[in-house]
Protein backbone atom coordinates (compact mmCIF):
# COMPACT_ATOMS: atom_id res chain seq x y z
CA UNK A 1 0.00 0.00 0.00
CA UNK A 2 2.75 2.43 0.96
CA UNK A 3 4.61 1.45 -2.18
CA UNK A 4 1.54 2.15 -4.26
CA UNK A 5 1.03 5.54 -2.66
CA UNK A 6 4.68 6.47 -3.14
CA UNK A 7 4.62 5.46 -6.80
CA UNK A 8 1.36 7.29 -7.34
CA UNK A 9 2.68 10.44 -5.67
CA UNK A 10 5.80 10.28 -7.77
CA UNK A 11 3.63 10.48 -10.89
CA UNK A 12 2.19 13.78 -9.78
CA UNK A 13 5.48 15.67 -10.07
CA UNK A 14 6.05 15.14 -13.82
CA UNK A 15 2.34 15.67 -14.39
CA UNK A 16 2.53 19.04 -12.69
CA UNK A 17 5.66 19.95 -14.61
CA UNK A 18 3.99 19.12 -17.92
CA UNK A 19 0.98 21.15 -16.86
CA UNK A 20 3.11 24.18 -15.98
CA UNK A 21 5.05 23.90 -19.21
CA UNK A 22 1.97 23.57 -21.41
CA UNK A 23 0.33 26.54 -19.73
CA UNK A 24 3.44 28.61 -20.27
CA UNK A 25 3.93 27.45 -23.84
CA UNK A 26 0.38 28.32 -24.90
CA UNK A 27 0.89 31.92 -24.01
CA UNK A 28 4.54 32.45 -24.89
CA UNK A 29 5.33 30.24 -27.84
CA UNK A 30 2.53 31.55 -29.97
CA UNK A 31 2.62 34.52 -32.32
CA UNK A 32 0.97 37.80 -31.38
CA UNK A 33 2.28 40.78 -29.51
CA UNK A 34 1.23 41.20 -25.94
CA UNK A 35 0.17 44.74 -25.32
CA UNK A 36 -1.07 45.20 -28.85
CA UNK A 37 -4.64 45.29 -27.60
CA UNK A 38 -3.86 48.00 -25.11
CA UNK A 39 -5.52 51.21 -26.28
CA UNK A 40 -2.40 53.26 -25.51
CA UNK A 41 -0.22 50.89 -27.49
CA UNK A 42 -0.47 53.06 -30.57
CA UNK A 43 2.65 54.84 -29.41
CA UNK A 44 5.73 52.65 -29.69
CA UNK A 45 7.31 54.16 -26.61
CA UNK A 46 4.27 53.28 -24.56
CA UNK A 47 4.28 49.74 -25.90
CA UNK A 48 7.96 49.25 -25.08
CA UNK A 49 7.52 50.73 -21.64
CA UNK A 50 4.52 48.53 -20.99
CA UNK A 51 6.32 45.40 -22.10
CA UNK A 52 9.30 46.24 -19.93
CA UNK A 53 7.08 46.96 -16.99
CA UNK A 54 5.29 43.62 -17.44
CA UNK A 55 8.60 41.81 -17.91
CA UNK A 56 7.72 40.68 -21.40
CA UNK A 57 11.02 41.80 -22.94
CA UNK A 58 13.15 39.24 -21.14
CA UNK A 59 14.50 36.05 -22.80
CA UNK A 60 12.09 33.11 -22.86
CA UNK A 61 14.02 30.73 -20.53
CA UNK A 62 14.34 33.48 -17.94
CA UNK A 63 10.63 34.18 -18.17
CA UNK A 64 9.89 30.46 -17.85
CA UNK A 65 12.01 29.85 -14.78
CA UNK A 66 10.80 33.02 -13.15
CA UNK A 67 7.17 32.20 -13.90
CA UNK A 68 7.59 28.59 -12.73
CA UNK A 69 9.18 29.71 -9.47
CA UNK A 70 6.23 31.96 -8.70
CA UNK A 71 3.58 29.65 -10.13
CA UNK A 72 4.50 26.75 -7.84
CA UNK A 73 3.75 29.14 -5.00
CA UNK A 74 0.42 29.92 -6.67
CA UNK A 75 1.66 33.42 -7.39
CA UNK A 76 0.52 34.10 -10.93
CA UNK A 77 1.24 37.81 -10.93
CA UNK A 78 -1.36 40.49 -11.29
CA UNK A 79 -4.20 40.80 -13.72
CA UNK A 80 -3.67 43.04 -16.78
CA UNK A 81 -7.26 44.06 -16.33
CA UNK A 82 -7.44 45.56 -12.86
CA UNK A 83 -3.98 44.97 -11.40
CA UNK A 84 -5.22 42.69 -8.65
CA UNK A 85 -3.34 39.46 -7.79
CA UNK A 86 -4.55 36.67 -10.07
CA UNK A 87 -4.88 34.15 -7.27
CA UNK A 88 -7.23 36.49 -5.40
CA UNK A 89 -9.44 36.80 -8.45
CA UNK A 90 -9.51 33.02 -8.82
CA UNK A 91 -10.19 32.31 -5.16
CA UNK A 92 -13.06 34.79 -4.90
CA UNK A 93 -14.73 33.13 -7.90
CA UNK A 94 -14.00 29.58 -6.75
CA UNK A 95 -16.93 29.04 -4.33
CA UNK A 96 -19.49 29.74 -7.05
CA UNK A 97 -17.88 27.19 -9.36
CA UNK A 98 -17.52 24.62 -6.59
CA UNK A 99 -21.20 25.03 -5.77
CA UNK A 100 -22.18 24.64 -9.43
CA UNK A 101 -19.89 21.75 -10.37
CA UNK A 102 -20.38 20.01 -7.03
CA UNK A 103 -24.14 20.09 -7.43
CA UNK A 104 -23.88 18.96 -11.04
CA UNK A 105 -21.55 16.10 -10.12
CA UNK A 106 -23.77 14.98 -7.26
CA UNK A 107 -26.83 15.17 -9.51
CA UNK A 108 -25.24 13.15 -12.28
CA UNK A 109 -23.94 10.50 -9.86
CA UNK A 110 -27.36 10.13 -8.24
CA UNK A 111 -29.36 10.02 -11.45
CA UNK A 112 -26.93 7.76 -13.26
CA UNK A 113 -26.85 5.32 -10.33
CA UNK A 114 -30.62 4.95 -10.44
CA UNK A 115 -30.73 4.72 -14.24
CA UNK A 116 -27.82 2.29 -14.48
CA UNK A 117 -29.02 -0.08 -11.75
CA UNK A 118 -32.55 -0.11 -13.15
CA UNK A 119 -31.48 -0.70 -16.74
CA UNK A 120 -28.95 -3.40 -15.87
CA UNK A 121 -31.46 -5.27 -13.70
CA UNK A 122 -34.23 -4.89 -16.27
CA UNK A 123 -31.89 -5.34 -19.18
CA UNK A 124 -33.40 -5.00 -22.68
CA UNK A 125 -36.64 -3.74 -21.18
CA UNK A 126 -38.38 -0.61 -22.36
CA UNK A 127 -36.79 1.26 -19.46
CA UNK A 128 -33.31 0.09 -20.44
CA UNK A 129 -33.96 1.17 -23.99
CA UNK A 130 -35.21 4.59 -22.88
CA UNK A 131 -32.21 5.05 -20.59
CA UNK A 132 -29.83 4.18 -23.44
CA UNK A 133 -31.52 6.61 -25.80
CA UNK A 134 -31.42 9.27 -23.10
CA UNK A 135 -27.70 8.80 -22.55
CA UNK A 136 -27.02 9.00 -26.28
CA UNK A 137 -28.94 12.26 -26.41
CA UNK A 138 -27.10 13.52 -23.35
CA UNK A 139 -23.77 12.82 -25.03
CA UNK A 140 -24.81 14.41 -28.31
CA UNK A 141 -26.60 17.59 -27.29
CA UNK A 142 -24.33 20.65 -27.24
CA UNK A 143 -24.33 21.82 -23.61
CA UNK A 144 -24.68 25.49 -24.55
CA UNK A 145 -27.71 24.74 -26.70
CA UNK A 146 -29.29 22.76 -23.88
CA UNK A 147 -28.63 25.81 -21.71
CA UNK A 148 -30.35 28.15 -24.18
CA UNK A 149 -33.30 25.78 -24.47
CA UNK A 150 -33.56 25.60 -20.68
CA UNK A 151 -33.52 29.39 -20.49
CA UNK A 152 -36.23 29.69 -23.13
CA UNK A 153 -38.47 26.98 -21.68
CA UNK A 154 -38.08 27.37 -17.91
CA UNK A 155 -36.94 30.96 -17.74
CA UNK A 156 -38.92 32.75 -20.42
CA UNK A 157 -41.93 30.69 -21.48
CA UNK A 158 -42.87 29.11 -18.14
CA UNK A 159 -41.22 31.92 -16.16
CA UNK A 160 -40.40 29.46 -13.37
CA UNK A 161 -36.75 30.01 -12.64
CA UNK A 162 -34.17 32.79 -12.81
CA UNK A 163 -31.67 32.36 -15.64
CA UNK A 164 -28.93 34.89 -14.96
CA UNK A 165 -26.38 35.07 -12.20
CA UNK A 166 -26.27 33.53 -8.78
CA UNK A 167 -28.57 35.85 -6.86
CA UNK A 168 -31.38 38.26 -7.52
CA UNK A 169 -30.58 41.94 -7.04
CA UNK A 170 -32.78 42.31 -3.98
CA UNK A 171 -32.26 38.88 -2.47
CA UNK A 172 -29.12 36.99 -1.52
CA UNK A 173 -30.64 34.27 0.63
CA UNK A 174 -29.83 30.59 0.26
CA UNK A 175 -33.23 29.80 -1.24
CA UNK A 176 -32.67 32.40 -3.94
CA UNK A 177 -29.23 30.98 -4.77
CA UNK A 178 -30.75 27.52 -4.90
CA UNK A 179 -33.35 28.70 -7.40
CA UNK A 180 -30.60 30.23 -9.52
CA UNK A 181 -28.63 27.00 -9.25
CA UNK A 182 -31.25 24.63 -10.63
CA UNK A 183 -30.95 25.35 -14.35
CA UNK A 184 -27.16 25.67 -14.72
CA UNK A 185 -26.50 22.65 -12.50
CA UNK A 186 -29.14 20.62 -14.29
CA UNK A 187 -27.72 21.38 -17.73
CA UNK A 188 -24.14 20.85 -16.57
CA UNK A 189 -25.14 17.49 -15.09
CA UNK A 190 -26.64 16.31 -18.39
CA UNK A 191 -23.49 15.18 -20.17
CA UNK A 192 -22.00 13.64 -17.04
CA UNK A 193 -25.20 11.76 -16.29
CA UNK A 194 -25.22 10.31 -19.79
CA UNK A 195 -21.59 9.23 -19.70
CA UNK A 196 -21.77 7.82 -16.17
CA UNK A 197 -24.99 5.94 -16.91
CA UNK A 198 -23.42 4.18 -19.86
CA UNK A 199 -20.30 3.34 -17.92
CA UNK A 200 -22.09 2.17 -14.78
CA UNK A 201 -24.62 0.15 -16.75
CA UNK A 202 -21.98 -1.85 -18.55
CA UNK A 203 -19.99 -2.48 -15.37
CA UNK A 204 -23.20 -3.53 -13.59
CA UNK A 205 -24.04 -5.93 -16.40
CA UNK A 206 -20.51 -7.31 -16.24
CA UNK A 207 -20.72 -7.81 -12.48
CA UNK A 208 -24.18 -9.39 -12.66
CA UNK A 209 -22.61 -12.15 -14.76
CA UNK A 210 -19.91 -12.92 -12.20
CA UNK A 211 -19.76 -16.26 -10.43
CA UNK A 212 -20.28 -14.79 -7.00
CA UNK A 213 -23.54 -13.21 -8.09
CA UNK A 214 -24.73 -16.61 -9.29
CA UNK A 215 -23.57 -18.07 -5.98
CA UNK A 216 -25.46 -15.41 -4.08
CA UNK A 217 -28.60 -16.17 -6.04
CA UNK A 218 -28.05 -19.94 -5.63
CA UNK A 219 -27.88 -19.74 -1.89
CA UNK A 220 -31.29 -18.13 -1.94
CA UNK A 221 -30.61 -14.47 -1.24
CA UNK A 222 -33.31 -12.10 -2.30
CA UNK A 223 -32.77 -10.39 -5.66
CA UNK A 224 -32.65 -7.10 -3.81
CA UNK A 225 -29.71 -8.22 -1.66
CA UNK A 226 -27.96 -9.71 -4.66
CA UNK A 227 -28.28 -6.53 -6.70
CA UNK A 228 -27.53 -3.99 -4.02
CA UNK A 229 -25.06 -5.60 -1.63
CA UNK A 230 -23.25 -7.91 -4.02
CA UNK A 231 -23.34 -6.52 -7.52
CA UNK A 232 -23.83 -2.81 -6.99
CA UNK A 233 -20.97 -2.30 -4.58
CA UNK A 234 -18.53 -3.96 -6.90
CA UNK A 235 -19.76 -2.08 -9.92
CA UNK A 236 -19.39 1.15 -7.99
CA UNK A 237 -15.75 0.46 -7.24
CA UNK A 238 -14.74 0.43 -10.88
CA UNK A 239 -16.46 3.74 -11.51
CA UNK A 240 -14.44 5.67 -8.94
CA UNK A 241 -11.65 6.22 -11.47
CA UNK A 242 -14.07 7.45 -14.10
CA UNK A 243 -15.16 10.14 -11.65
CA UNK A 244 -11.60 11.42 -11.47
CA UNK A 245 -11.41 11.56 -15.25
CA UNK A 246 -14.65 13.52 -15.41
CA UNK A 247 -13.21 16.48 -13.50
CA UNK A 248 -11.55 18.20 -16.47
CA UNK A 249 -14.73 17.73 -18.54
CA UNK A 250 -16.72 19.29 -15.73
CA UNK A 251 -14.41 22.29 -15.65
CA UNK A 252 -14.70 22.69 -19.43
CA UNK A 253 -18.47 22.42 -19.26
CA UNK A 254 -18.48 25.02 -16.51
CA UNK A 255 -16.87 27.55 -18.87
CA UNK A 256 -19.79 27.27 -21.29
CA UNK A 257 -22.55 26.98 -18.71
CA UNK A 258 -21.24 29.81 -16.54
CA UNK A 259 -20.96 32.03 -19.61
CA UNK A 260 -24.50 31.36 -20.76
CA UNK A 261 -26.05 31.68 -17.30
CA UNK A 262 -23.77 34.54 -16.21
CA UNK A 263 -22.73 32.44 -13.24
CA UNK A 264 -19.92 34.27 -11.42
CA UNK A 265 -17.46 31.36 -11.26
CA UNK A 266 -13.95 30.67 -12.55
CA UNK A 267 -15.28 29.36 -15.86
CA UNK A 268 -16.74 32.74 -16.66
CA UNK A 269 -13.62 34.42 -15.33
CA UNK A 270 -11.65 32.26 -17.75
CA UNK A 271 -13.81 33.24 -20.68
CA UNK A 272 -13.57 36.91 -19.77
CA UNK A 273 -9.79 36.64 -19.39
CA UNK A 274 -9.45 34.85 -22.72
CA UNK A 275 -11.60 37.46 -24.45
CA UNK A 276 -9.59 40.36 -23.09
CA UNK A 277 -6.24 38.55 -23.44
CA UNK A 278 -5.59 38.88 -19.73
CA UNK A 279 -2.69 36.42 -19.91
CA UNK A 280 -1.75 36.22 -16.21
CA UNK A 281 -5.33 35.26 -15.36
CA UNK A 282 -5.49 32.76 -18.22
CA UNK A 283 -2.23 31.10 -17.20
CA UNK A 284 -3.20 31.15 -13.56
CA UNK A 285 -6.52 29.51 -14.29
CA UNK A 286 -4.93 26.89 -16.54
CA UNK A 287 -2.49 25.92 -13.81
CA UNK A 288 -5.04 26.17 -11.03
CA UNK A 289 -7.70 24.02 -12.69
CA UNK A 290 -5.00 21.61 -13.86
CA UNK A 291 -3.69 21.18 -10.32
CA UNK A 292 -7.22 20.61 -9.05
CA UNK A 293 -7.86 17.90 -11.65
CA UNK A 294 -4.50 16.22 -11.08
CA UNK A 295 -5.19 16.12 -7.34
CA UNK A 296 -8.72 14.92 -8.07
CA UNK A 297 -7.34 12.04 -10.11
CA UNK A 298 -4.85 11.26 -7.38
CA UNK A 299 -7.64 11.12 -4.79
CA UNK A 300 -9.75 8.95 -7.09
CA UNK A 301 -6.89 6.48 -7.54
CA UNK A 302 -6.19 6.37 -3.81
CA UNK A 303 -9.88 5.83 -3.06
CA UNK A 304 -9.91 3.11 -5.69
CA UNK A 305 -6.98 1.32 -4.10
CA UNK A 306 -8.59 1.64 -0.68
CA UNK A 307 -11.94 0.17 -1.69
CA UNK A 308 -10.44 -2.46 -3.99
CA UNK A 309 -7.42 -4.18 -2.42
CA UNK A 310 -6.75 -6.08 -5.65
CA UNK A 311 -5.64 -2.94 -7.38
CA UNK A 312 -1.97 -2.63 -8.14
CA UNK A 313 -0.61 0.23 -10.10
CA UNK A 314 1.66 -0.81 -12.92
CA UNK A 315 4.69 1.16 -14.03
Amino acid sequence: MTGFLLRRFRQVVPQLLILFTISFAIIHLTPGTTGAVNPEAGVTQNLDALREQLGLDRPLPVKYVDWLWHAVQLDFGTSFDDGRPVIDKILERLPATLLLTGTALALSILISLVLAVMSSVYRNSLFDYAATVFSFFGLSIPAFWAAILAIIVFGVQLDLLPVQGMNSVDDDGAVDTLRHLILPAGVLALEGTAALTRYLRSSMIEVLHEDYVRTARAKGLSERTVVFSHAFRNALVSSVTILGLRLPILVGGAVLIETVFAWPGIGRLGFEAVSTRDYPVVMGLLVFTGIVTIIGNLLADITYSLVDPRVKLSG
Binding site: Q15, P142, A143, I148, I249, G252, G267, S275, T293
Partner: protein, 296 residues
Protein backbone atom coordinates in the same frame (compact mmCIF):
# COMPACT_ATOMS: atom_id res chain seq x y z
CA UNK B 1 -30.62 -14.08 -42.32
CA UNK B 2 -26.96 -14.94 -42.52
CA UNK B 3 -27.48 -18.07 -44.60
CA UNK B 4 -29.59 -16.28 -47.18
CA UNK B 5 -26.65 -14.11 -48.16
CA UNK B 6 -24.52 -17.05 -49.32
CA UNK B 7 -24.54 -17.70 -53.08
CA UNK B 8 -24.16 -21.24 -54.43
CA UNK B 9 -20.84 -20.50 -56.15
CA UNK B 10 -18.93 -20.05 -52.92
CA UNK B 11 -20.94 -22.14 -50.51
CA UNK B 12 -17.89 -23.59 -48.82
CA UNK B 13 -16.12 -20.34 -48.37
CA UNK B 14 -16.58 -18.75 -44.94
CA UNK B 15 -17.62 -15.11 -45.21
CA UNK B 16 -14.68 -12.76 -45.03
CA UNK B 17 -14.02 -10.73 -41.90
CA UNK B 18 -15.29 -7.64 -43.69
CA UNK B 19 -18.54 -9.35 -44.67
CA UNK B 20 -19.08 -10.52 -41.12
CA UNK B 21 -18.39 -7.04 -39.78
CA UNK B 22 -20.85 -5.57 -42.26
CA UNK B 23 -23.49 -8.08 -41.15
CA UNK B 24 -22.89 -7.23 -37.52
CA UNK B 25 -23.17 -3.54 -38.34
CA UNK B 26 -26.38 -4.08 -40.30
CA UNK B 27 -27.96 -5.94 -37.40
CA UNK B 28 -27.81 -2.77 -35.30
CA UNK B 29 -30.80 -0.75 -36.48
CA UNK B 30 -29.78 2.46 -34.71
CA UNK B 31 -26.37 2.39 -36.37
CA UNK B 32 -27.86 1.88 -39.80
CA UNK B 33 -30.29 4.73 -39.15
CA UNK B 34 -27.36 6.87 -38.00
CA UNK B 35 -25.43 6.08 -41.17
CA UNK B 36 -28.41 6.99 -43.34
CA UNK B 37 -28.95 10.27 -41.50
CA UNK B 38 -25.25 11.09 -41.81
CA UNK B 39 -25.33 10.42 -45.54
CA UNK B 40 -28.31 12.75 -45.90
CA UNK B 41 -26.59 15.47 -43.89
CA UNK B 42 -23.41 15.06 -45.92
CA UNK B 43 -25.44 15.23 -49.12
CA UNK B 44 -27.18 18.36 -47.88
CA UNK B 45 -23.86 19.95 -47.01
CA UNK B 46 -22.25 19.10 -50.33
CA UNK B 47 -25.00 19.81 -52.85
CA UNK B 48 -27.29 21.90 -50.63
CA UNK B 49 -25.63 25.32 -50.95
CA UNK B 50 -25.37 25.30 -54.79
CA UNK B 51 -28.91 23.93 -55.11
CA UNK B 52 -30.30 26.55 -52.74
CA UNK B 53 -28.53 29.27 -54.68
CA UNK B 54 -29.61 27.96 -58.05
CA UNK B 55 -33.25 27.12 -57.42
CA UNK B 56 -34.24 29.38 -54.55
CA UNK B 57 -31.71 32.14 -55.03
CA UNK B 58 -30.55 31.80 -51.44
CA UNK B 59 -27.00 32.46 -50.27
CA UNK B 60 -25.67 32.45 -46.73
CA UNK B 61 -24.35 36.03 -46.98
CA UNK B 62 -27.14 37.89 -48.75
CA UNK B 63 -28.62 40.45 -46.33
CA UNK B 64 -31.71 41.23 -48.39
CA UNK B 65 -34.22 39.35 -46.25
CA UNK B 66 -36.07 41.10 -43.40
CA UNK B 67 -34.59 40.48 -39.96
CA UNK B 68 -36.40 37.68 -38.14
CA UNK B 69 -38.65 37.05 -41.14
CA UNK B 70 -40.83 34.04 -40.39
CA UNK B 71 -40.88 30.92 -42.54
CA UNK B 72 -42.13 31.72 -45.99
CA UNK B 73 -42.05 30.46 -49.50
CA UNK B 74 -38.96 32.45 -50.40
CA UNK B 75 -37.21 31.68 -47.14
CA UNK B 76 -38.26 28.19 -46.02
CA UNK B 77 -36.78 28.55 -42.53
CA UNK B 78 -37.03 32.31 -42.16
CA UNK B 79 -34.15 34.71 -41.62
CA UNK B 80 -31.61 35.55 -38.93
CA UNK B 81 -31.20 38.87 -37.03
CA UNK B 82 -29.10 40.34 -39.87
CA UNK B 83 -31.59 39.31 -42.53
CA UNK B 84 -29.70 36.34 -43.90
CA UNK B 85 -31.56 33.24 -45.03
CA UNK B 86 -31.49 30.55 -42.33
CA UNK B 87 -31.76 27.57 -44.68
CA UNK B 88 -28.78 28.67 -46.75
CA UNK B 89 -26.78 29.31 -43.60
CA UNK B 90 -27.80 25.98 -42.14
CA UNK B 91 -26.59 24.15 -45.25
CA UNK B 92 -23.35 26.12 -45.35
CA UNK B 93 -22.88 25.49 -41.63
CA UNK B 94 -23.18 21.79 -42.27
CA UNK B 95 -20.09 22.00 -44.45
CA UNK B 96 -18.11 23.59 -41.65
CA UNK B 97 -19.23 21.03 -39.09
CA UNK B 98 -18.50 18.05 -41.31
CA UNK B 99 -15.16 19.40 -42.50
CA UNK B 100 -14.09 20.15 -38.94
CA UNK B 101 -15.36 16.77 -37.70
CA UNK B 102 -13.52 14.83 -40.39
CA UNK B 103 -10.32 16.88 -40.15
CA UNK B 104 -10.26 16.53 -36.39
CA UNK B 105 -10.80 12.79 -36.75
CA UNK B 106 -7.88 12.50 -39.17
CA UNK B 107 -5.65 14.82 -37.15
CA UNK B 108 -6.34 13.40 -33.72
CA UNK B 109 -6.23 9.73 -34.73
CA UNK B 110 -3.06 10.49 -36.67
CA UNK B 111 -1.32 11.93 -33.62
CA UNK B 112 -2.81 9.26 -31.37
CA UNK B 113 -1.68 6.53 -33.74
CA UNK B 114 1.91 7.75 -33.84
CA UNK B 115 2.19 8.19 -30.08
CA UNK B 116 0.30 5.01 -29.24
CA UNK B 117 2.28 2.96 -31.77
CA UNK B 118 5.64 4.19 -30.53
CA UNK B 119 4.66 3.59 -26.91
CA UNK B 120 3.16 0.17 -27.54
CA UNK B 121 5.82 -1.09 -29.92
CA UNK B 122 8.89 -0.09 -27.98
CA UNK B 123 7.46 -0.46 -24.49
CA UNK B 124 9.71 0.08 -21.49
CA UNK B 125 10.81 3.61 -20.60
CA UNK B 126 9.57 5.08 -23.90
CA UNK B 127 6.14 3.64 -23.18
CA UNK B 128 5.94 4.84 -19.61
CA UNK B 129 7.17 8.30 -20.58
CA UNK B 130 4.66 8.70 -23.39
CA UNK B 131 1.82 7.28 -21.33
CA UNK B 132 2.64 9.56 -18.42
CA UNK B 133 2.38 12.42 -20.89
CA UNK B 134 -0.93 11.07 -22.20
CA UNK B 135 -2.32 10.71 -18.69
CA UNK B 136 -1.38 14.28 -17.95
CA UNK B 137 -3.14 15.45 -21.09
CA UNK B 138 -6.22 13.58 -19.90
CA UNK B 139 -6.08 15.39 -16.58
CA UNK B 140 -5.88 18.83 -18.16
CA UNK B 141 -8.94 21.04 -18.44
CA UNK B 142 -8.89 20.60 -22.21
CA UNK B 143 -11.70 22.93 -23.12
CA UNK B 144 -10.14 25.79 -21.26
CA UNK B 145 -6.81 25.21 -23.00
CA UNK B 146 -8.72 25.16 -26.28
CA UNK B 147 -10.22 28.55 -25.51
CA UNK B 148 -6.88 30.06 -24.54
CA UNK B 149 -5.11 28.61 -27.57
CA UNK B 150 -7.87 29.77 -29.91
CA UNK B 151 -7.71 33.28 -28.47
CA UNK B 152 -3.93 33.45 -28.63
CA UNK B 153 -3.50 31.89 -32.09
CA UNK B 154 -6.41 33.86 -33.43
CA UNK B 155 -9.71 32.15 -34.14
CA UNK B 156 -10.04 30.53 -37.54
CA UNK B 157 -11.27 27.30 -39.05
CA UNK B 158 -7.78 25.88 -39.54
CA UNK B 159 -6.63 26.84 -36.06
CA UNK B 160 -9.76 25.31 -34.58
CA UNK B 161 -9.03 22.00 -36.27
CA UNK B 162 -5.37 22.03 -35.26
CA UNK B 163 -6.08 22.90 -31.64
CA UNK B 164 -8.83 20.32 -31.22
CA UNK B 165 -6.67 17.63 -32.85
CA UNK B 166 -3.67 18.40 -30.68
CA UNK B 167 -5.82 18.05 -27.57
CA UNK B 168 -8.08 15.14 -28.50
CA UNK B 169 -5.63 12.38 -29.44
CA UNK B 170 -5.34 10.82 -25.98
CA UNK B 171 -8.10 8.22 -26.34
CA UNK B 172 -6.70 6.99 -29.65
CA UNK B 173 -3.18 6.81 -28.25
CA UNK B 174 -4.30 4.69 -25.32
CA UNK B 175 -6.35 2.34 -27.49
CA UNK B 176 -3.60 1.95 -30.11
CA UNK B 177 -0.98 1.37 -27.45
CA UNK B 178 -3.12 -1.33 -25.85
CA UNK B 179 -3.53 -3.08 -29.19
CA UNK B 180 0.18 -2.83 -29.95
CA UNK B 181 1.10 -4.31 -26.58
CA UNK B 182 -1.04 -7.37 -27.35
CA UNK B 183 -0.18 -7.73 -31.02
CA UNK B 184 3.57 -7.37 -30.71
CA UNK B 185 3.61 -10.60 -28.68
CA UNK B 186 1.87 -12.55 -31.44
CA UNK B 187 3.65 -15.21 -33.49
CA UNK B 188 3.59 -13.30 -36.75
CA UNK B 189 5.54 -10.47 -35.19
CA UNK B 190 8.09 -12.89 -33.79
CA UNK B 191 8.29 -14.47 -37.23
CA UNK B 192 8.76 -11.07 -38.83
CA UNK B 193 11.57 -10.35 -36.39
CA UNK B 194 13.11 -13.76 -37.07
CA UNK B 195 13.35 -13.12 -40.79
CA UNK B 196 15.01 -9.83 -40.01
CA UNK B 197 12.44 -7.24 -40.95
CA UNK B 198 13.16 -3.69 -39.87
CA UNK B 199 11.11 -2.12 -37.09
CA UNK B 200 9.30 0.03 -39.60
CA UNK B 201 8.20 -2.98 -41.69
CA UNK B 202 7.02 -4.84 -38.59
CA UNK B 203 5.06 -1.81 -37.41
CA UNK B 204 3.41 -1.71 -40.81
CA UNK B 205 2.27 -5.29 -40.33
CA UNK B 206 0.90 -4.52 -36.89
CA UNK B 207 -0.81 -1.37 -38.17
CA UNK B 208 -3.22 -3.37 -40.29
CA UNK B 209 -4.46 -5.02 -37.12
CA UNK B 210 -5.03 -1.67 -35.47
CA UNK B 211 -7.30 -0.35 -38.22
CA UNK B 212 -10.56 -1.36 -36.45
CA UNK B 213 -9.56 0.55 -33.32
CA UNK B 214 -8.60 3.55 -35.45
CA UNK B 215 -11.91 3.54 -37.28
CA UNK B 216 -13.89 3.47 -34.04
CA UNK B 217 -11.74 6.11 -32.34
CA UNK B 218 -11.88 8.23 -35.47
CA UNK B 219 -15.66 8.11 -35.56
CA UNK B 220 -15.93 9.21 -31.94
CA UNK B 221 -13.42 11.98 -32.72
CA UNK B 222 -15.75 13.23 -35.47
CA UNK B 223 -18.48 13.59 -32.86
CA UNK B 224 -16.32 15.42 -30.35
CA UNK B 225 -14.79 17.55 -33.10
CA UNK B 226 -18.22 18.76 -34.19
CA UNK B 227 -19.31 19.42 -30.60
CA UNK B 228 -16.15 21.28 -29.63
CA UNK B 229 -16.12 23.36 -32.81
CA UNK B 230 -19.72 24.39 -32.22
CA UNK B 231 -18.92 25.35 -28.63
CA UNK B 232 -15.86 27.37 -29.71
CA UNK B 233 -17.80 29.10 -32.46
CA UNK B 234 -20.63 29.77 -30.03
CA UNK B 235 -18.17 31.62 -27.80
CA UNK B 236 -16.85 33.49 -30.83
CA UNK B 237 -13.49 31.71 -30.83
CA UNK B 238 -14.06 29.23 -33.63
CA UNK B 239 -15.43 29.86 -37.09
CA UNK B 240 -15.43 33.56 -37.80
CA UNK B 241 -18.22 35.62 -39.33
CA UNK B 242 -19.48 35.96 -41.98
CA UNK B 243 -18.75 32.24 -42.44
CA UNK B 244 -21.85 30.35 -41.35
CA UNK B 245 -21.46 27.60 -38.77
CA UNK B 246 -24.02 25.98 -36.53
CA UNK B 247 -22.27 27.00 -33.33
CA UNK B 248 -21.81 30.59 -34.47
CA UNK B 249 -25.45 30.78 -35.58
CA UNK B 250 -26.42 29.97 -32.01
CA UNK B 251 -24.26 32.68 -30.48
CA UNK B 252 -26.64 35.47 -31.43
CA UNK B 253 -29.68 33.52 -30.22
CA UNK B 254 -28.92 34.33 -26.61
CA UNK B 255 -29.87 37.97 -27.16
CA UNK B 256 -33.29 37.09 -28.51
CA UNK B 257 -34.60 34.46 -26.09
CA UNK B 258 -37.50 36.72 -25.20
CA UNK B 259 -38.52 37.84 -28.67
CA UNK B 260 -37.43 35.06 -31.01
CA UNK B 261 -37.34 31.83 -29.03
CA UNK B 262 -37.42 29.66 -32.17
CA UNK B 263 -34.33 31.21 -33.75
CA UNK B 264 -31.92 28.69 -32.29
CA UNK B 265 -33.95 25.58 -32.83
CA UNK B 266 -32.58 24.45 -36.18
CA UNK B 267 -28.82 24.99 -35.77
CA UNK B 268 -28.89 23.28 -32.37
CA UNK B 269 -31.04 20.50 -33.69
CA UNK B 270 -28.64 19.96 -36.59
CA UNK B 271 -25.64 19.73 -34.25
CA UNK B 272 -27.45 17.26 -32.03
CA UNK B 273 -28.76 15.10 -34.86
CA UNK B 274 -25.36 14.98 -36.56
CA UNK B 275 -23.49 14.10 -33.38
CA UNK B 276 -26.17 11.60 -32.39
CA UNK B 277 -25.91 9.92 -35.80
CA UNK B 278 -22.12 9.81 -35.57
CA UNK B 279 -22.32 8.30 -32.10
CA UNK B 280 -24.78 5.63 -33.26
CA UNK B 281 -22.54 4.78 -36.20
CA UNK B 282 -19.54 4.65 -33.87
CA UNK B 283 -21.39 2.30 -31.55
CA UNK B 284 -22.30 0.02 -34.46
CA UNK B 285 -18.75 0.11 -35.83
CA UNK B 286 -17.35 -0.81 -32.46
CA UNK B 287 -19.58 -3.84 -32.15
CA UNK B 288 -19.03 -4.76 -35.78
CA UNK B 289 -15.28 -4.34 -36.04
CA UNK B 290 -14.11 -5.42 -32.65
CA UNK B 291 -16.54 -6.98 -30.21
CA UNK B 292 -13.81 -7.02 -27.58
CA UNK B 293 -13.51 -3.27 -27.37
CA UNK B 294 -14.57 -1.85 -24.05
CA UNK B 295 -17.65 0.31 -24.11
CA UNK B 296 -17.27 3.91 -23.19
Amino acid sequence: MASAAAVPANVQRAPSELTRSWRRFKSNKLSVAGAVVLLLIALGAIVGPPLARHFLGLTPYDLSCTSFAPMSRDHPLGCDPLGRDLLARLLAGGRVSLIVGLSVAIGSTGIGLIIGAIAGYFGGPVDSMLMRFTDTMLALPTFFILLSAAAVLGPSLVNTVIIISVLEWTTTARLVRGEFLVIREKEFVTAARAVGLTNLRIVRHILLNVVPVLVVAGTLAVASGILVESALSFLGLGTQPPQASWGYMLSSVQNFVFTEPLLGVFPGLMIMITVLAVNFVGEGLRDALDPRLVKR
